[in-house]
């Protein structure tokens, strides 16, 4: 069960898309979210994403979304940035 002040964290890394096992605060700072996700990938604690000691989320962005019809809870997506210059 995810509380109203919590969010599920979704991450895409190395061709796999999965979620952190435990929710985080919906107000968590972006830097903290990236740090938690990187550590979880590093030690292999995200089901579906093999452990990767070389994980590097430097060029990733963190996006936060509120509940909607398909998803009754807050969600945080950690994905690669996509700007071009």
């Amino acid at each position: 069960m995810i509380g109203p002040n919590e969010a599920r964290v979704n991450i895409t890394w190395a061709g796999q898309n999965a979620e952190l096992p435990d929710p985080v605060s919906r107000d968590a700072a972006e830097g903290d979210v990236k740090m938690w996700v990187a550590e979880a990938i590093r030690n292999g604690s995200i089901p579906g994403i093999p452990a990767d000691p070389n994980v590097d989320l430097t060029n990733y962005v963190v996006e936060k979304y509120g509940p909607n019809d398909q998803r009754p809870h807050h969600a945080i997506f950690v994905r690669p940035k996509t700007p071009f210059g």
Partner: protein, 184 residues
Amino acid sequence: MGNISNAERKRRIRACAEAGPAPTFNYWGSVWCRRCNYQMGIHPNVKGMQMTIEAGVVLDLEGKPIFWHLPPGRTGGSLPDSSELWDVLWENRRRLSGFAHSHPGAGEPGPSYTDVTTFQAIESALGRRIDWWITSSDHVALFRWVGPDKYSYQGILMRTEPDWANRLRELSQPPTKDGKETES
């Protein structure tokens, strides 16, 4: 530049444009003509085509367009971050071969620091390398990761242009006054 009249400024830009394709460089997010030092947004090239807005296209394994990337907020110097583009890349990851984007002006195109850091991020997420194309008004170049470090991408100029290149250039022209994209 010194203090010159608007008429003299226009005359210099016109003369530069008539001298041949503008050699360009990027500076603080804008594209400038190396020959006359004016910004490319006011500087037509010799074909009369002003490539003043960047555009992109996602390509499948046969090199055919899957998705034309024309996000709100695109400028002559950048395509903004877009969750929609990432969704397209991820949804099409099994038939994806690469992504192309345009740079304004003429000359041999090269990736910016923003470009190579985005290349690296997307390939990390996809779990594989893909092709990165960049077009100018008169050249197409293909860049691939060669290593050893994470931002080491090397390009080759293409002698034969892919079929999508001219369409990408058309979409790199300014929208019409009613806000519509330029159609061929």
